[in-house]
């Protein structure tokens, strides 16, 4: 999945460059600078710091915060579709802890893609989708220990649920 998403982001950056060039030639406005924050299970699947530790399963939807022109968002959606992936329509409803640290996953000429440090994504899942992610959080609690537990407690997550 890491390779697939890297390929998509490379292609997206190329499309943005082309569009920017067209905008200059034809004189229409186009803001090329784009930031995508990849969230959810896909952000874990591309992160080697967790994929080597924990088994991860995912459906083929991609959650993200996108700061870009609408054209870029539609282009991203169509590139994902070509690889059998869906841009999640509810992606703007995703909640992340306020202290979430992001690191760079991809940098192109205009496109930057960030992913959260896994512990914040895991806390989000433990608090907002605990039933669906019970198995994952149990493994993650053993791996990340008190730090993850404290994050879940901080945001009033039901920690005991994972011990049942």
């Amino acid at each position: 999945m890491k390779e697939i998403l890297e390929k998509i982001f490379k292609q997206l950056d190329k499309e943005i460059i082309k569009r920017e060039s067209e905008a200059r030639e034809q004189g229409f406005n186009f803001r090329a600078e784009t930031q995508i924050k990849l969230l959810g299970q896909m952000s874990l699947l591309v992160n080697e710091s967790i994929t080597t530790l924990i088994e991860l399963n995912a459906t083929r939807d991609v959650d993200s915060y996108i700061q870009s022109e609408y054209w870029v968002e539609k282009k991203f959606e169509s590139l994902l579709k070509k690889e059998g992936l869906l841009l999640d329509k509810d992606r703007n409803l995703i909640w992340m802890p306020e202290e979430t640290i992001f690191k760079t996953f991809f940098t192109g000429k205009y496109l930057t893609v960030l992913i959260p440090e896994p512990i914040y994504c895991l806390a989000s899942k433990a608090i907002k989708a605990k039933e669906k992610n019970k198995q994952l959080i149990i493994f993650a609690l053993l791996e990340y220990g008190d730090k993850l537990e404290n994050l879940i407690k901080k945001y009033n997550g039901e920690l005991e649920f994972f011990y049942e």
């Binding site: 995912a58 869906l86 149990i138």
Partner: protein, 171 residues
């Protein structure tokens, strides 16, 4: 943090995941492009509904894509009689193109429906909203004759000709 309790739970989960039923269900769903994972699973081209429902006890995402698996790969389902009634209702709603439907085992209808409608890597499958459905009609002989003539003149099958006429209606 009770590490001992966690270790015991993980031991139970690992045992569950070693079960060939779990492995086979996951292998099928991943191979068919409905799920992704960061580990390899073997693949055999069948799906046992009972096993899928059992495996979903630890992986809820199986339920999320199960309707899509049943609708796209009906010939791979070895025990269609095991499809629970509530899941049958979900399947019927998806087939009818209903935007609203009942959730199932905590999974939202909308989420189950969307997986039935994405193009899969098996190009023989079609998104459900694009699948054709059978309907039988009886026409008077003169109507059939006209339909034959209409379709011949346009190089269409009779089905295509009817589709063409219906879609043109209303502009």
């Amino acid at each position: 943090m009770n590490k001992e309790r966690l270790r015991k739970k993980i031991e139970a989960l690992e045992k569950f995941k070693q079960d060939p039923r779990y492995q086979q269900v996951m292998g099928f769903l991943i191979h068919k492009g409905l799920l992704v994972a960061n580990r390899e699973y073997g693949f055999e081209n069948y799906l046992n509904i009972k096993d899928a429902l059992w495996a979903a006890k630890i992986e809820a995402r199986i339920i999320e894509v199960l309707p899509a698996a049943i609708l796209h790969f009906p010939k791979s389902i070895v025990d269609p009689e095991s499809i629970p009634k509530k899941l049958q209702v979900v399947l019927e709603n998806i087939k009818d193109g209903s935007k609203e439907g009942e959730d199932y085992k905590g999974l939202k209808y909308a989420d189950m429906r969307k997986w039935a409608d994405i193009p899969l890597k098996d190009k023989r499958t079609k998104p459900i909203s694009r699948k054709k459905r059978q309907n039988n009609f009886r026409f008077r002989p003169e109507v059939l004759a006209k339909l034959e003539e209409y379709s011949k003149n346009r190089g269409l099958t009779k089905t295509e000709a009817l589709e063409d006429l219906v879609m043109k209606w209303g502009g």
